[in-house]
Point group: C2
Chain length 232, copies 2
DNA sequence: CGCGCTCGTTGCGCCAGGACAAAGACCCTG
DNA sequence: CAGGGTCTTTGTCCTGGCGCAACGAGCGCG
């Protein structure tokens, strides 16, 4: 498909052991797609006929419960694969990936996955490592939700965000995409109100600097202390 | 290795596309090991040099937090692989699998994994599906912990247990291995006390029947209603 | 067969944090 | 630059469920 930046894809860990020829065959089956901010790539419950790779931008994957509550399952960063339902033995997508920022994805029909793995075991190994890491993260989150109180959980979430999407500025580290208090609440299993209170308190202490859909971490070290230690 | 029940292994979904010859080569590298109740197969933090398959019995995988709190990450059922850290790009085991009942495991050196996947992509695909399901379960648990209150979470946990380890008896469905209130608490992110209160209440309503390390579900349908619906 | 240990039950007080409410602050649009 | 929508802040109240404490019950062991 014309338009896909081949060297960008080439550099992804997921494809690190593929030959150029193999990569080309893979890209030949791919389609590129632009996703505007606020738009969903697909919807929860929809039949899973494609899987995706995020090239640019940022997505948040949400799930809606039966009673309408929403949670953010994870963020998708550039280079991540998502919409992998079929390979995970599901017929429908378990969540909805929505663009938090202007994004570009490429996608393949699900059949392609099986075909390529047969010919190239490395791909499966790499994908498994990537899914394995997601599993680790999920377990970490479960542990946090079970044992830590809200302020610690929010601290951990923010630290994770600057790790995965932090851009160093003169005043500190900025989270590189628009994120609301509501988003952070849905990532940590609390309410918008509690997050707002906590961030305000941190701002008073000089740990962070807020703003509409913005967050700048001034003092990551103190935040880390707060996240780990018992004392605030 | 002598002593491994080949037809039992043959029947596992994980190996469903392997030829008999391939299976034999795999088993040739395996070691069998008996694990007594209460004993750990390995310890959290230990260097991951082997991976495992549970043949018989039941394991609970726990993680301990820095401040000493414990949670149950998941239960391992017969046929499940565990201790997969290396394939997931970790050097050490993230948790401790402890036998809840007399168990038998087989294990391989981690190097074997890479070798076999190269020769047999199906194995990778199967393993990925299995890990994918674990990821789904983890997300489900995260969603529950974020949105549901304790009684609902406990209901879900118990339902999951009878699904994965339920033995139908005349009076209802029994959980087929010793499980304490503390265990259920660690699975649902609450305290032993709350679980005890909840189960007592259910017993009064005739939904379950308790006992020391025992649990019998008398009325799974009502429990399911309680887990899903808003009303108790 | 009685002693001790582990596991389970239950009562009570307290508080983190959720629910509700209302008022700013910021941004886009016409 | 006025108006409306969205996001955020902050206050007040209220409750689920945790912490603490003490007791009861089943099980294994000498």
């Amino acid at each position: 498909m014309a338009g896909i930046n081949r060297s960008l894809v080439r550099a992804l860990p997921l494809f690190n052991k593929l030959s150029d020829a193999e990569l080309d065959r893979l890209l030949a089956r791919a389609t590129m797609q632009r996703v505007a901010t606020g738009e969903a790539v697909f919807e929860q419950g929809q039949k899973a006929d494609r899987f995706f790779l995020l090239l640019h931008g940022r997505l948040k994957v949400t799930q809606v419960t039966a009673d309408g509550q929403q949670i953010i399952v994870r963020m998708v960063h550039p280079g991540d694969i998502f919409g992998f339902a079929k390979a995970l033995q599901r017929d429908d997508y378990p969540g909805t990936p929505t663009a938090s920022a202007e994004s570009v994805v490429i996608c393949w029909p699900t059949e392609v996955w099986g075909q390529f793995v047969e010919q190239n075991p490395h791909l499966a190994v790499n994908a498994m490592q990537s899914i394995g890491q997601r599993l680790q993260e999920a377990h970490t989150r479960i542990r946090e939700m079970a044992t830590e109180e809200v302020e610690h959980r929010v601290a951990h979430a923010v630290l994770r965000l600057i790790e995965q999407a932090g851009k160093t500025e003169s005043a500190g580290i900025r989270i590189d995409f628009p994120i609301s208090r509501q988003d952070i609440a849905e990532m940590t299993g609390t309410t918008l109100h509690s997050v707002s209170r906590i961030l305000s308190a941190w701002e008073t202490k000089g740990l962070v600097e807020g703003g509409r859909q913005k967050l700048l971490v001034r003092d990551a070290a103190s935040l880390r202390l707060l996240a780990e230690g018992e004392a605030g």
